[in-house]
């Protein structure tokens, strides 16, 4: 059984984001990139399935700053093959990325068909679409998103999935394999891997670079402006030590009859 995991890098929003001089994009100079959080759960889900089903896990990620570290970390966790797709335009949106992956992956030896393709079902920069369903549609694979549990019946050629609805309700679904699944969560948080194992993976190398193939896309969205959102309102800020502000909050609660 083969499981393909798609991962991508996104700006780290813990850092301050600034608008570039063009007024329409993020200033790249001070951006720090981290792996899309949902993709980490997709990898964890794949590794859990690998443990249960002796599957092979192939990780694919578009080229981006820090992506090598992410791929080597995936190897240290147990991924069998690492592929970096190079040549995509910097800051490529979901549409361009999905189109390029759909055009590229079928041409890479031993990647497709995969029994299961897992990817985070969303990311913070998905302005023009979600990569996972776009790719599923392009590859003609059944798709289900917002999934947080995956069990595979390899002999039956199907997967049993739990999809999140509101209020803690889960929908149970069956998908015919091969299929593409958009991962929202996992039964376990992403596993920890010691730095020494990551260093060993870096020393061993082994990232395969594949050139992105072109593909027909749709007309892109035209971003006229980007700015920090104007808030309709803003909190009244309380200042002082933790003890000071706690007293102030307690005063406010008491004045409102909440204590």
């Amino acid at each position: 059984m083969k499981i393909l995991v798609l991962m991508k890098m996104v700006p780290d929003i813990v850092e301050e984001l600034e608008v570039a001089a063009d007024g329409r994009s993020l200033d790249q100079e001070y951006l720090r990139f981290i792996v899309n959080e949902r993709d980490e759960y997709a990898l964890e889900q794949a590794l859990l399935l690998k443990d249960r089903l002796q599957a092979t896990v192939v990780v694919v990620a578009p080229e981006a700053p820090e992506v090598d570290d992410v791929l080597f970390t995936a190897r240290a966790k147990g991924a069998d093959r690492l592929i970096k797709v190079v040549g995509l335009p910097a800051g490529a949106g979901a549409r361009v990325t999905a189109t390029a992956l759909a055009a590229t992956l079928p041409g890479v030896d031993g990647v497709l068909p995969a029994d299961l393709v897992l990817s985070g079902c969303q990311s913070i920069d998905d302005l023009d679409g979600f990569v996972a369903p776009l790719l599923a549609a392009a590859l003609g694979l059944p798709y289900l998103g917002l999934v947080s549990r995956v069990a595979v019946d390899a002999e039956g050629g199907k997967a049993l999935l739990s999809k999140e609805y509101a209020g803690g309700v889960m929908g149970r679904f069956e998908l015919s394999l091969p299929a593409l699944v958009g991962i929202q969560g996992c039964e376990k948080p992403p596993r920890y891997v010691p730095v020494a194992k990551v260093r060993a993976a870096i020393a061993a190398g082994g990232i395969e670079e594949v050139a992105a193939a072109g593909g027909a896309g749709v007309a892109p969205l035209e971003i006229a402006a980007m700015a920090k959102p104007e808030a309709a309102g803003h909190a009244e800020m309380l200042e002082g030590s933790a003890r000071d502000v706690a007293e102030k909050v307690a005063d406010i609660l008491a004045a409102r009859g909440l204590l």
């Binding site: 929003i13 549409r95 599923a136 149970r172 948080p189 035209e222 309709a232």
Partner: protein
């Protein structure tokens, strides 16, 4: 921009969602700005009666099909794409909820048209539409336009009050037969309700919500102490649930519940739109975060830039002291 404005009427477990009415209210404004008709599109099986509540639309297009009974994105996207290909609407507004999530992902691909994601506002004038989208966890807003042809719009919850999309006389209902290949790659089996026995956070007057900023599981206990002092309960945002520090039924926001307590203390929560939609209507919101630029401070009444755990500890002590 030619064509009508469509709103996908999201129905789940026999009811039309509030997010649908919010989108209808936005759709009404856009239709008037474009001089177009507003049409609600209702997909399902045996749910025609739900069309009566969609009176803010000029008409309801109703597609009844066995494959649409449970509304998986695989099927609804195929049906809607077939219908849109026939009628070429200008805009297709889809509520951004877990029910419509897969439809949002698949429909633009099936139609080969653009998607405007995370849309929090849209205005129409002079035949063109300008969208405003929140991205990067609510830390940036983009103003954008799309070219001619159909555009799918993912409408964020709260874009308009749901009440503004309700009312009006029962609309004209056009039952439409759509030919589409349903496919059987995705099969719905059942819904699992959350396990009973835990606290129902929607019924609590006092909620202490914890997020990634509390750093580790041990600090949930600090939040528990404050909740106990207030006479309330602890809840959390997505990262805390993902880590297994709190059960799924304690999650506030998109995959969780919507709460309206008298007091909501948001500790170490950044305020991503997915969380804010579940708590923005709390009577009093006090937010604690080390990042002064955290979006949570835009919805909170009082804000504190400080380590969340330190403040929770001090507040538990202060509240306990006042309550004697």
């Amino acid at each position: 921009m030619a064509g009508n404005v469509w709103v996908v009427a999201e129905q789940w477990k026999g009811s039309v969602s509030d997010a649908t009415y919010e989108a209808l209210a936005l759709g009404r404004d856009l239709a008037e700005g474009l001089g177009a008709r507003l049409e609600a599109v209702l997909l399902g099986q045996g749910v025609r009666a739900l069309a009566d509540s969609l009176g803010r639309a000029d008409a309801v297009l109703y597609v009844d099909h066995p494959a649409l009974a449970e509304g998986t994105g695989e099927q609804t996207s195929r049906a809607l794409a077939a219908l849109a290909a026939e009628r070429s609407p200008a805009l297709i507004l889809v509520p951004t909820t877990n029910v419509s999530w897969d439809l949002l992902g698949l429909l633009p691909a099936r139609l080969g048209v653009p998607l405007v994601n995370f849309c929090r506002q849209a205005t129409a004038s002079g035949g063109a539409v300008e969208f405003s989208s929140l991205l990067y966890g609510g830390k940036m807003a983009a103003t954008l336009t799309a070219g001619d042809g159909t555009v799918v719009v993912a409408v964020l919850p709260g874009v308009r009050p749901a009440e503004a999309g309700k009312g009006g006389p029962p609309p004209q209902v056009e039952e439409v037969a759509v030919a589409f290949e349903a496919g059987d790659g995705v099969r719905w089996l059942e819904y699992e309700e959350p396990e009973a026995g835990d606290v129902d956070i929607t019924q609590q007057e006092f909620l202490v919500a914890v997020g990634r900023g509390i750093s580790n599981e041990a600090n949930v206990e600090v939040a528990e102490e404050l909740a106990a002092a207030l006479g309330g309960a602890v809840c959390g945002s997505r990262p805390v649930i993902d880590q297994g520090w709190l059960p799924l039924v304690r999650q506030v926001g998109k995959s969780g519940v919507t709460v309206k307590p008298r007091l909501y203390v948001a500790a170490g929560i950044s305020g991503a739109p997915e969380h804010v939609e579940g708590m923005k209507d709390a009577e009093l919101i006090v937010a604690v975060n080390t990042d002064p630029g955290a979006p949570i401070f835009s919805v909170a009444h009082y804000g504190i830039v400080e380590d969340a755990t330190d403040v929770l500890e001090a507040l538990a002590e202060a509240v306990s002291k006042r309550k004697g």
